[in-house]
Amino acid sequence: MKGILKKISQINFGLLSPEDIRKMSVTKIVTPDTYDEDGYPIEAGLMDPRLGVIDPGLRCRSCGSKGGDCQGHFGHINLARPVIHVGFADTIHKILRSTCTKCGRVLLTESEIIDYKDKLESKLQNQESITTIIKEIYTVARRDKCPHCDEEKEEIKIDKPISIVEGNYKLTSSEVRERLERIQEQDYLFVGVNPEVAKPEWMVLTVLPVPPVTVRPSITLETGERSEDDLTHKLVDILRINQRLKENMEAGAPQLIVEDLWELLQYHVTTYFDNEASGVPPARHRSGRPLKTLAQRLKGKEGRFRSNLSGKRVNFSARTVISPDPNISINEVGVPKMIATEVTVPVYVTKWNIEQMKEHIQTGPKEHPGANYVIRPDQRKIRVYDETKEAIIEKLEPGYIVERHLKDGDIVLFNRQPSLHRMSMMAHEVKVLPYKTFRLNLCVCPPYNADFDGDEMNMHVFQTEESRAEAKSLMRVQEHILSPRFGGPIIGGIHDHISGAYLLTRLGSDFKEEDVLQMLKKSNIPFPERQKGDSWTGKEIFSLLLPESLNMVYKAEICRKCDECLRQECKNDAYVVIESGQLKTGAIDERAYGAFSGKILDSIVKDYGTDKAREFLDSATKLAISGIMKRGFTTSTADEEIPREAKDRIEELLSKSESRVEQLIDAFHNDELESLPGRSLRETLEMKIMQVLGEARDKSGEIAESYFGMDNHAVIMALTGARGSMLNLTQIAACVGQQSVRGGRIERGYSNRTLPHFQVGELGAKASGFVHSSYKKGLDPLEFFFHAMGGREGLVDTAIRTAQSGYMQRRLVNALQDLSVQPDGTVMDNRGIVIQTKYGEDGVDPAKSDYGKVADIDRLIDEMRIKSKVGK
């Protein structure tokens, strides 16, 4: 079949038998010492040269290969007495519990044996998991009498982590091993042991494999002192106790002493495998630091799997804090000089660039456009030093590779975690800048979800021409202005870009020609050929950015959604009409070129290409910023100030609403309330109160709003979509409103009341978290408390939501990662299996669609209508 490379047919897991361990061992280890006085490794010690070599000069005594090529060889320690392997203590306990002490048979009746045998064999035949059946056997086979030899069985318990206790007697490891040996091979399957690869008694160790020195290399400190690996330390402990135990046994020492030493040996072997086993005090280094033994090497986030196999560190990358730079293009990234002199680009030397490369080497590794390394045609890498650069230049010829510093115009990959969508990694052009932060254009904050409160980002430098070419055509920022999520722009103006453009283009904003030329110059917009008289409207200035053939109509963000639309005559200037690239009516706001909703930007990308869109965005944002700087823009709580009269009106409204709530409660108590269909009386009351209080907040907001004008900066920001919402403003100015926990009014706290300040069973507005004050006026202590309750719920919810959606996304990504769209539009996975005969069933790329649809017919009609009108 197409695409299938190799198929793994089977993986077997088994236990190492003592014979296996001896067979793979190159030497028996006896002495706990590592090196002699002269610093040479001792034979039969833990650093025995037959275990492999690390130093590049030496040859391995076992395989003869040089250091680095030899992957090392195992040794072994013969344990004086058997010890239980921690990892199998649980299994050993379960097996002993399910087998007879005397005859060693599994504690199942003959009929059960036949029954389970059938079940297990059919599962194995189908290559299905047998764990559920084995679990069942472990519970069924807990009998107090052996069905085979009628032997009484005592309860066997496990004293975590490794002691097996029968009745009141603690079994020694030897006894455990003897019992496991007694189990017959025909019964292995029932206790969950595969007879082909393991025997139960192998779970009790008699021989311990000693990993090669390459697994536990010793470090030589600057002082010349040797520092051994944690594993070596642990093995020394094991050997020492093993030695003592053997000597004592041979000398016929009292049973008590032997048992003590045996226990100690068990402890050391246990911590050698897992130093975090519960119930075992962790073995510590002399400094008091717990040792990092085998299990700790593999486990967890910093373990071998998650940090060395699933994820790796890479070269040619950099990470630092980000800060904004409105003067660079969206395609660019400001790279600190310090980083630019450290990460490099390999350049093949040719006869055309050899002079330039020589210049780079001449500049040296310390100055900016220099070079750090030169790779000779024989692949030798030579570091460029100020002392050696002359000699290197002398030898430089086509065929060499020069690793030169990053310079302006290089393509790099820029990324911010969490990398949730493809716009989290985009290709930028380098611009080397002073200081120590990465600089990025503000328009690319939304796709990265970046801000500048200390965020850091990563940069990766491409190392091959292919990757650079691919990145430039597929990953560049301008190719990602439109998001495949909703078919609209995700890169676009934010915050001041929006308010700036609104202030520039709204009705009645006029500029002197001198100011206009200043703004145009700042924004890199070519001066218009035809200079007009003295006064320019903002709309005329903005029109200079628009392509000449652009026609469009849309409703701006500031649209108040009047009952009857006055279209061109809109008094809010919210009906935007662009004819032949001239902004006729309407103000520019978020719906024009904001991230997530910019209609003009969307149109330019789709009709004029990404190059034009980048130019438009770069110039438009700069124009908006220079426009906003002409008049200044600021906000404070003074913006939310409302006159006395308004406050009185709000107060009146709220007290009216609160008395209405009281009426409802009275009606409820007097059984005069009629319940809504499907609701209890109490629920009805609750809904009605919520409705009344909700209205109260909205109405109070409306009152406050009626006193706000379009000369108020906070209002400009809220209505144009730059930042904040009208609700935010009314909460500051008029009334914060009902606080909620779990979607309803607050009911928790004391029994039948929220706080001791209220009557038991009180249902009023104030008693269940209605905040009557505004933020500006200030909350009273009770209101403050309820507000904190609601606020905490919001916080907890977002934390849980991100965790949940993150896990969901991870699973989705893992399931879909190998799917790809073929040139003919079919979707296939990596084996060539068809998933869909046409992508999305309609073959539409959402990034190139009109907000998810193939085409927005209404938009097209509107455009054509204008075009025909202009044509006449």
Binding site: M1, G832, I833, K838, G840, E841, D842, G843
Partner: protein
């Protein structure tokens, strides 16, 4: 009493392709028939229309994005 499942509004239209149609579809998609999505022979619709393992079914269903969508499935044993 058994209802005719083929008439249920949630069951899309299944038809068995003839040999020539099968080859045409596979050629058009440039794939081997094993690469197609599968349907089990004990699927109620497959049993109802009497398709045999190795047949390819043409399934015409409603689609949110395209209105009407045609896909194919290989009947497994």
């Amino acid at each position: 009493m058994k209802n005719d499942i083929l008439k249920h509004k949630l069951v899309p239209d299944h038809t068995i392709l003839s040999k020539t149609e099968m080859n045409k579809v596979l050629k058009q998609l440039n794939i081997h028939q094993e690469q197609l999505p599968k349907i089990k022979s004990d699927d109620p619709v497959v049993k109802d229309i009497g398709a045999k393992p190795g047949d390819i079914l043409k399934i015409t269903r409603k689609s949110h994005t395209a209105g009407k969508f045609v896909t194919y499935r290989l009947v497994l044993e």
